[in-house]
């Protein structure tokens, strides 16, 4: 009964999106207030309906209702409760339902909090959001109905893919989806602006916080996915340039460009047309990612059981939304007024440079991800584009960008002075050089790129800090007043510092973990030891153990450093009973920011087992840096200026207008 209710709510939601697609937009174009007033309550109602539907599916999972096909195929009564819950989105249908839930949630947020938006912009935005929602709800109903029943339900389900039976499933997909789907709002804003033929101050002020919100979650989602793959797959790698990873990385790069160009648009009313295009591109890349991951053109843990009809359906949606919005752009963009001139060396110029490199890098990832698919489709030739391609293209494009990061915030708007800006960065440059030289002195010619990488990372971190320190003249006015001024800085200034610092931290983690990693692969018998980076890893033996829905062979290892006990590690090899599927559970010991990583191979019968031991210096900085970056986004969002309902002072608005009119 509850399941049917959920299904019915979803059908009702589809009918409502159709209303929402037409009426408010019609109202916005014809200036009819009553039609526009339809949008906010309907957007909230849509969210409630999809939520009912999602809760219904969740209830079916928690009750292990195997008469529902989706539950039967992806759950098991012996599965721990948390995985019954997270298993709701551990399959194609349920994850698409979560996708749609977040989509309508964002619509409801705009409907609920959009009180100070111009009425027509709000109505048009919600209409566009409803088009996207209608497409995906129809996709669910027509090709991936999670509420399908089975006539003669068996007593036991097929269980969830064991790799997904991890706390990561509770965190990674929801975070990633809020990020991915969050860009739909900026997309809807952009398309609405094109439909109405104008981008005013309110538009500019609204785009940035939404971009920041989506970007913040996407950053966390990608970082979480990376850490999950790192500890769950047992390969010890944190990024594989796998097409599925790239699918989430491309919207992230485009979103990063977007949130920088939105600053220029907000402060200087320049780059409007470009920002609108970026907003369209960013969500288009999110849609492309959904297509790549869900259509089955790629083989990965994310591509659940596939059905050609689904791929075609998403491809059609993709063509309609991307093709439609780009044609609209080509037609209407020339109508948008350009404002705000600036010299090449200026804050705006720096942000344009950022956008150039990010777009180029995004294009490189795009080519590397889609070229093999295109080649296969056209010629049937099978190739693979792996890490070397991306390291060779993405890497070199990031280096100049990283070098330029500290300059951006110290340049002034409109016309900057590179010489004066550099003077504020001397200390940062000195520090970076020092770290590079020390690294070189310690390792010498053996690792030539490492000192440059370390220097670059320190340069980015120190550059971020020195920007605010010199901005408040911390050392000139003394620490007491200095601190007071630091606290008084606007949230967006802190956001920049924190986010850029986070970039440096991540880069440092990447450089050290790649350059100084040590790895040993050995066949070990009980009592054997291996030495690695000063640690002594002893294999004490293996023993079987039973879990709730798996059995495992646990290896016991003792870690010592210079004879002194450090830790016990218990990596294991599990076999999940229902699917008879083996998985590897790595044993990880964290010291400071570094990790010792153990994973087991198959045991060889005579008590010997293949063991892979890694020492990964400072590897956790990679993910810590991402968390710091998203913290930066939080600071920026907390800025008073962006807070909903905080109008721009009239005097400043006038100043901006006269500046723009020059």
């Amino acid at each position: 009964m509850i399941v049917e209710l959920g299904h019915y709510a979803l059908v009702l939601a589809f009918a409502l999106t159709l209303v929402q697609c037409v009426l408010p937009l019609w109202g916005a174009l014809s200036g009819d207030d009553r039609l526009m007033a339809v949008a906010p309550p309907v957007s909230v109602m849509l969210f409630v309906l999809v939520l009912i539907s999602f809760v219904a599916l969740t209830v079916a999972y928690l009750n292990s209702d195997f008469s529902v096909l989706n539950v039967l195929q992806n759950s098991h009564s012996a599965k721990p409760l948390i995985y019954k819950f997270t298993g709701v989105w551990g399959n194609h249908e349920g994850s698409m339902l979560l996708w749609v839930l977040i989509l309508v949630f964002f619509g409801a947020l705009v409907g609920f909090f959009g009180g100070n938006l111009p009425k027509d912009l709000k109505a048009a935005t919600l209409s566009v959001q409803a088009w996207v929602s209608a497409g995906f709800i129809l996709f669910l109903l027509a090709t991936s109905n999670p509420f399908e029943r089975v006539v003669n339900p068996p007593l036991e389900g097929a269980d969830l893919n064991p790799i997904l039976q991890d706390i990561g499933l509770a965190i990674h997909p929801p975070l990633l989806y809020v990020g991915y789907v969050g860009f739909s709002i900026t997309f809807s804003f952009a398309v609405a602006a094109l439909l109405l033929g104008r981008t005013d101050a309110a538009w500019a002020r609204w785009v940035r916080p939404w971009t920041l919100l989506a970007w913040c979650f996407l950053t966390l989602g990608i970082a979480m996915g990376s850490y999950w793959a790192y500890y769950e797959l047992g390969w010890g790698g944190w990024w594989f340039w796998d097409p599925v990873e790239n699918a989430s990385f491309m919207p992230w790069i485009a979103g990063t460009a977007l949130l920088h160009s939105a600053i220029v648009m907000e402060k200087r009313e320049a780059l409007k047309i470009w920002t609108v295009l970026l907003a369209i591109f960013t969500f288009s890349l999110s849609l492309l990612g959904t297509f790549l991951v869900r259509s089955g053109v790629l083989t990965s843990v994310h591509a659940f059981a596939t059905d050609p009809a689904r791929g075609v359906f998403i491809l059609v949606l993709l063509c309609i939304f991307i093709g439609g919005s780009l044609s609209l752009y080509a037609w209407r963009a020339p109508m948008l007024k350009q404002g705000g001139l600036f010299a090449p060396i200026s804050r705006e110029g720096g942000l344009v440079l950022n956008n150039l490199f990010l777009t180029a890098a995004c294009a490189a990832v795009f080519v590397g991800t889609l070229y093999p698919l295109a080649l296969d489709a056209i010629t049937g030739e099978k190739i693979s584009v792996g890490a070397p391609f991306f390291n060779l293209t993405f890497g070199p494009l990031m280096v100049p960008l990283l070098m330029a990061i500290p300059f951006g915030p110290v340049l002034s708007w409109k016309r900057g002075d590179l010489h004066a800006a550099s003077q504020r960065l001397y200390a940062a440059f000195g520090l970076a050089l020092l770290f590079a030289l020390v690294t070189f002195w310690l390792w010498g010619m053996e690792k030539v790129l490492a000192p440059m990488g370390v220097g670059l990372a320190v340069w980015v971190m120190a550059g971020a800090v020195s920007e605010i320190v010199t901005r408040v003249k911390f050392f000139e006015i003394g620490p007491k007043r200095g601190f007071a001024r630091l606290v008084g800085l606007p949230g967006s200034a802190w956001g920049t510092v924190v986010a850029h610092f986070g970039v440096g931290v991540t880069v440092l983690g990447i450089v050290t973990a790649s350059a100084f990693q040590e790895e040993r692969i050995e066949t070990m018998r009980p009592g054997d030891s291996v030495e690695l980076s000063g640690y002594e890893v002893t294999f004490d033996g293996a023993a079987p153990r039973r879990g709730p829905n798996y059995t495992e062979e646990v290896g016991h290892f003792t870690i010592r450093k210079a004879g002194a006990y450090v830790a016990d590690l218990d990596p294991s090899k599990r076999v999940y009973t229902a699917r008879q599927m083996p998985t590897t559970e790595a044993g990880i010991h964290t010291t400071g920011f570094s990790q010792l990583y153990l994973s087991l191979g198959e045991s060889r019968g005579d008590g010997a087992v293949d063991v892979r031991v890694y020492y990964k210096p400072l590897i956790t900085l990679i993910w810590i840096g991402c968390v710091i970056m998203s913290l930066g986004a939080v600071f920026s969002m907390a800025d008073r200026r962006l807070r909903v309902g905080a109008p721009k002072p009239a005097a400043r608005r006038k100043a901006v207008q006269t500046a723009a009119a020059e």
């Binding site: 893919n161 344009v352 070229y371 099978k382 190739i383 693979s384 060779l392 998985t583 191979g601 892979r612």
Partner: protein, 149 residues
């Protein structure tokens, strides 16, 4: 600077960055891509030595030999031809005899394929797509469509 000069600077720098990106992409596509080959392709063609390839097929029944130092030797077959592979490392969880596998590496001078990565799959009934198609080419594909996911 005049308006025109500013615009030219902008377009010029955009062009320069895009040209660099394009150059890098073309260079890397020329050099860093890896071709997928079945055992039959390898026995028939003579690939230049040292060329990286992806070899895909089934792990031949009874061919897996493990030795100390985590060294593994096995043969990858498409039921028509087979290629000997050697690999040092931990095999993926789902590596089994008679199952599909994709390995990446280079062919050594002795004709043995030295793999530096071995991929099985994330799911127990998943067959790497390339392998499924290579097997179909050899007429040895018995699985239903459902197995190709």
């Amino acid at each position: 600077m005049t308006r025109k000069q500013r615009r030219l600077t902008l377009i010029g720098s955009a062009g320069a960055v895009l040209a660099i990106a394009l150059g890098l992409i073309l260079f890397a596509l020329n050099d860093q891509i890896v071709f997928f080959q079945s055992p039959t392709d390898i026995t028939q063609n003579t690939m230049p030595a040292g060329q990286r390839i992806r070899l895909g097929g089934l792990v031949e029944e009874g061919s897996v030999e493990k030795s100390d130092n985590a060294q593994v030797n096995f043969r990858v077959t498409d039921m028509a031809n087979a290629v000997a592979v050697t690999y040092k490392g931990i095999l993926p969880d789902l590596f089994r005899e008679g199952q599909g596998v994709v390995t990446e590496g280079v062919i050594g001078p002795d004709g043995v394929f030295v793999a530096d990565s071995v991929l099985a799959k994330h799911d127990e009934n998943y067959m790497p797509k390339e392998v499924a198609e290579a097997l179909k080419d050899q007429g040895h594909w018995q699985g239903g469509e459902g197995e190709a996911n």
